[in-house]
């Protein structure tokens, strides 16, 4: 048992922290208000090898160890949760899915692009299917060497920016457990277009869109993980994605804590900095304790992922706990800032809005509890 980070993990933290403090944090408010991630920033994240952190060197990635990748997402989120969202979906979810389920040809074709300049998206949700994918209505019908996809997907993170989408559609085989198939769909495929862009509560700069498929023809080589294996691909990929969301939540929580400490030492009421009052001290003590616990849970899940063993339980625990810790930390940060916390002049209202989102996407807290209970009670 060793709680010490390796030299690589420490250097990744130092480097990504400095990059995020200098290149992202000063503009995070602006990204949030414009509800748009600038490509200039995404390009830098590619150049630094942060977007390609999950991808092996042989495919042009930086092949960070699993905990280092998690630290990278956490440090980006400490500056801007939206940027971390785009990064987490791209790496922890999509790059992982292709690595785990892709054929050698698919890896050779897509991973170098995901390491270099192409953002990825993951499209499972539909109007009548979210936590329960069995409601998916989008169909994929075989026609010659291609599948013809029809339907409307919603709530696709990175929907506007992605060049490659892992998209789930119904390929009925008769067996309800094998009704779904994952497809690698390129953005410029005829018949695919971006529909409505959502205006959200938080993580506003990461796009969230509809994707509309009208006779969108995808070659059969682009089936990811086998026909009828969609459930398995989705669930296993989301296990990894949840580590990314947990890391994002920790970043938001850490930023909330740091802002709270700074403000409570500066803000004077009743003749003393409010940090001198026990009411504030307890909030800060709880925040720090819970963040540390969330971090340890998350690093453990990441460590298990790196070892290549099953981590469904740990990833769900990490995602559940870290997102709820982030929400509480951000709520207390707003409380500590008082009236200022309600204004957009301070970042804590953004942390509060961003934190709420982490309790919902990639499996709500309720779904995480279901996953955890299922793992324990089966």
């Amino acid at each position: 048992m060793d709680f010490e980070l390796t030299e690589e993990q420490k250097m990744v933290r130092r480097t990504v922290r400095e990059f995020a403090e200098k290149e992202i944090a000063p503009r995070a408010k602006d990204y949030d208000e414009r509800e748009e991630l600038p490509w200039e920033l995404i390009k830098k994240l590619f150049e630094q090898g942060i977007m390609g952190s999950m991808i092996p060197v042989e495919y042009g990635g930086s092949e960070l160890d699993s905990v280092s990748q998690t630290i990278a997402v956490e440090e980006v989120a400490r500056a801007c949760a939206s940027t971390a969202m785009t990064l987490s979906i791209h790496s922890s979810l999509c790059s992982y899915a292709i690595l785990k389920f892709g054929s050698e040809e698919q890896k050779e074709k897509y991973l170098p692009r995901l390491a270099k300049d192409t953002v990825a998206a993951f499209s499972l949700t539909e109007a009548e299917a979210g936590s329960d994918p069995s409601g998916i209505k989008t169909t994929a019908k075989m026609d010659g060497d291609e599948y013809v996809l029809n339907g409307t997907k919603i709530f696709v993170t990175n929907g506007e920016d992605a060049g490659l989408i892992i998209l789930f559609a119904r390929t009925d085989t008769g067996d309800p457990r094998r009704a779904l198939t994952a497809f690698l769909v390129e953005k410029d495929t005829p018949g695919l277009r971006v529909g409505k862009k959502e205006r959200k509560l938080g993580v506003r700069a990461a796009s969230l869109t509809e994707l509309i498929l009208e006779n969108c023809r995808v070659p059969k080589e682009n089936v990811l993980g086998g026909v009828g294996e969609g459930y398995k691909v989705a669930l296993a990929s989301l296990d990894s994605g949840r580590i990314g969301i947990a890391a994002q939540a920790i970043g938001i929580a850490q930023a909330s804590l740091e802002a709270s400490i700074k403000h409570s030492k500066e803000r004077v009421q009743f003749g003393s900095p409010i940090a001198g009052f026990q009411a504030i001290q307890w909030m800060i003590a709880d925040m720090a304790t819970e963040i540390e616990a969330a971090r340890l849970l998350t690093y453990k899940a990441a460590y298990l992922r790196g070892r290549g063993v099953r981590f469904t339980l740990e990833a769900s625990m990490a995602k559940l706990y870290a997102s709820e810790v982030a929400m509480k930390a951000a709520r207390n940060a707003v409380q500590i800032f008082g009236g200022y916390g309600l204004t957009r002049d301070y970042p804590v209202e953004r942390f509060f809005r961003d934190a709420k989102c982490t309790e919902i996407y990639e499996g709500t807290s309720e779904i995480q509890r279901m996953v955890i209970a299922n793992q324990l009670l089966r």
Binding site: E8, G49, G52
Partner: protein, 261 residues
């Protein structure tokens, strides 16, 4: 070409934790980093290498944990990292440091250029680069902003009060670089992974032909009597008078201030 870049591990300036009793830095609680201007020096070397080809060796004198900073130098793009570490070196001042670095440079010779940050964020003496050139008996260019190398000559734009000047020196030479010179690159994730796998070479005192009594606290002529906060009280005075009259008054102000000292 062979570029030697001297780097120092310093405490992160804004995050230094001091023991309130002894006034010493609490090493355990203080994060350390590469001295900011040394990063500018390394960036300058990386750009020269991009233009001219060659090899960059990062050298540091420090305790074993300074390896971290050298790995960071490799992650930024240095080809080789050398740590001079020896218990006898503890307490060395700028004079001894430059002597040790000079010996290390000779050990790593041949080289074309030694590049240093102009000063460290902790000591702020700004002496090491200058004394290093003296020790090596080489031409030196200080406070450099831009560097170009061509046919055995380095051309540098250097900052001076109120402007800049362009100077040339024959190689090999020693250059010190200031923070305004460039924006150091961030190490890429890939280079971090690679740097962590590479060994940092070690040199000890005996490798440099130095005796313990020549270095460390004993070998250092500098004695720090006390450390205090410098209070600067400046006031601007504008004289709205004919030039000759104003000049007279300026002269008398100077004389008056000198008389006070």
């Amino acid at each position: 070409m062979h570029f030697i870049v001297c780097v120092k591990q310093v405490p992160s300036v804004e995050k230094v934790r001091m023991d309130p009793e002894t006034g010493r830095i609490l090493r355990e609680e203080t994060p350390f980093m590469m001295n900011p201007e040394d990063r500018n020096a390394l960036e300058a070397a990386l750009r020269l290498k991009e233009d001219n080809g060659g090899l960059i060796t990062a050298v540091s004198m420090g305790p074993p944990q300074a390896e971290e900073t050298l790995r960071e130098a490799v992650a930024m793009g240095a080809d080789r990292a050398v740590l001079i570490s020896d218990p006898a070196l503890a307490g060395s001042d700028a004079f001894v440091t430059s002597k040790v670095l000079a010996r290390a440079a000779l050990k790593l010779a041949p080289f074309d250029l030694v590049i240093c940050g102009s000063r460290s964020a902790d000591g702020e003496a700004g002496m090491v680069g200058i004394q290093l050139a003296e020790e090596l008996n080489l031409p030196q260019v200080t406070w450099a902003l831009e560097l170009k190398v061509r046919e055995g000559v380095i051309t540098a734009k250097r900052k001076i009060d109120g402007g800049y000047e362009i100077v040339e020196a024959l190689l090999p030479a020693v250059v010190t670089v200031i923070g305004e010179a460039n924006k150091p690159r961030y190490p890429t994730m890939r280079r971090i992974v690679e740097a962590c796998k590479r060994p940092v070479e070690r040199l000890e005192l005996s490798d440099l032909g130095l005796q313990p009594e020549e270095v460390g606290l004993r070998g250092s002529p500098t004695r720090i009597e006390r450390v205090f906060r410098l209070e600067r009280r400046r006031k601007g005075v504008i004289l709205r008078k004919p030039a000759e009259e104003a000049a007279r008054e300026v002269a008398s102000i100077i004389l008056r201030e000198l008389a006070k000292e």
